[in-house]
Amino acid sequence: MVNTKVTLSGISLDNPIIPASGTFGYGWEFAELYDINCLGTFSFKGTTAESRFGNPTPRIAECPAGMINSVGLQNPGVDNVISEQLPKLKACFNKPVMANVGGFSVEEYAQTCAKLDKEPQVGWLEVNVSCPNVHGGGISFGTDPKMAAEVTRSVKAVTEKPVYVKLSPNVTDIVAMAKACEEAGADGISLINTLFGMRIDLKTKRPVIANKMGGFSGPAILPVALRMVYQVYEAVNIPVIGMGGVSSAEDVIEMMLAGATAVQVGAANLVNPFACKEIIEQLPSVMERYGISSLSEIIGGAHHG
């Protein structure tokens, strides 16, 4: 028997698999497809203070081994999440959930997090300072260490729950970003968000995405994510949640060897709605194949020796 349990800021997860924000709604939508209690947890759709429609369509483009999205944080707003979404989730998910929060000002992040802090089912706050699809929004917080630290401090001031800051890969020095968040009190780091990208339609000779550019995700970005998780793990003393292109149990193990305590799965859910369930089912046999008896023991394993 292999052990897939990991611990994330004092909360035990049955396994490290976490569907990433924006690919799993508020969870209850996927409960129609399978029992989502098999998940470690999941990160719910990025939530802002007010409801948002998001960006104009087309919002999606095909890419080699991946996709671009430019959804623009469409969500029903934090009050609706608390009054409508979380009660629906409670009926089908009996584990703590990761609450993903977006924002456009330091005050907004704090205000939204303060409301979610009172929700018993919220286990962790994941503060997204890195959405590439909102102008004047998250991204400036995600590319300036001082701003990321300020958001972190303001959120930490209003919550007792562990705060994970989700970082953008669209920076020169990811380690400086992670360290700034750690110094500001972050309990952990989530990385990476999508890479800024674009496609152009040869027929119309215009960008495919209405907003011209968007966030590139999928298997193509796995090596970038692994490199950044590896670098950040080495530089900080707080847990790292690794994500970016993960689509198999092998990818999960690779991400954990790079330094991830838990692993998020994003774009893969959009192609295969059962992706996370299948990864969880495959994990024990893949662990056995590579002689791994306990997943928590391999975290950062690639750094040794």
Partner: protein, 242 residues
């Protein structure tokens, strides 16, 4: 929604760049005319959404136009190929609103979903009139198939090379109880203006997942934000913001 593996029984070209693919397997996920399926195409990342043309308990017919890399690859699949398909996506048409003499309007690649709808309405004892619009004679397909269902069929071509010269709006009957429409957006808008009864429009949008998870295909309606893949692709005329 149901994930299923369907085997291609046959595939043939039925008009310029238009393919008819017949598959067999479990289609129990499909619950209404006007729904779509989302197909995994080897070598591409995102699935390709294709409207259901016709289905039975164990067969599925898809008619699609070769417009990009996904459909070009699909067209090359030989019989026997097994496809990973998400079935029963979207809301589909509501036939309870049709009345006795519904009007079905399909334009180009918007024609296929009208076929199973027509079949269903006929089976319900209704008397559908069908107007099919194409650009040119070489694009025309399924005229005889609709006639075989017992519907009255008019075909229009924009260049006049076949049937009535003009657009579908040049061939609409004067009386009908309700309408159903699928086609390119300029056609939908023209039909919206040219019709006076209640009706249903089927929309197309670039999709990420096709089952409501990614919010890639959202649109605004009078009744709030809707996902084309989940609360659509069929919207009631009264809720469209035009």
């Amino acid at each position: 929604m149901k994930q299923t593996f369907l085997t291609i029984v046959s595939q043939q070209r039925i008009a310029d760049n238009v393919m008819e693919m017949c598959l067999e397997g479990d289609t129990s996920g499909i619950t209404a005319s006007g729904q779509f399926v989302n197909i995994k195409v080897e070598g591409l990342f995102l699935r390709r959404p294709i409207s259901v043309c016709d289905y039975t308990e164990n067969s599925l017919t898809l008619v699609y136009k070769i417009v990009g890399e996904g459909t070009r690859l699909m067209a090359e699949y030989p019989a026997g190929t097994v496809l990973d398909v998400l079935t029963g996506l979207g809301n589909g048409y509501d036939t309870s609103l049709s009345g006795d003499a519904p009007l079905l309007i399909g334009g180009g690649v918007g024609v296929p979903p009208m076929y199973n709808l027509c079949k269903t309405l006929v089976a319900e004892g209704k008397h559908p009139t069908v107007v099919l619009g194409f650009n040119s004679k070489g694009d025309v397909f399924y005229e005889k198939e609709f006639e075989a269902l017992g519907a009255t069929v008019t075909v229009t071509t924009a260049d006049g090379s076949y049937g009535v010269k003009g657009f579908v709006t040049d061939a609409l009957p004067t009386t009908y109880s309700h309408f159903y429409c699928c086609g390119p957006e300029p056609m939908l808008k023209a039909v919206y203006r040219a019709t006076s009864t209640s009706g249903q429009f089927s929309f197309e949008e670039r999709m990420g997942c096709g089952f409501g998870a990614c919010m890639g295909c959202s649109c605004k309606t009078i009744t709030g934000y809707k996902r084309i893949c989940k609360e659509g692709p069929v919207l009631q005329k009264e809720e469209i913001l035009w």
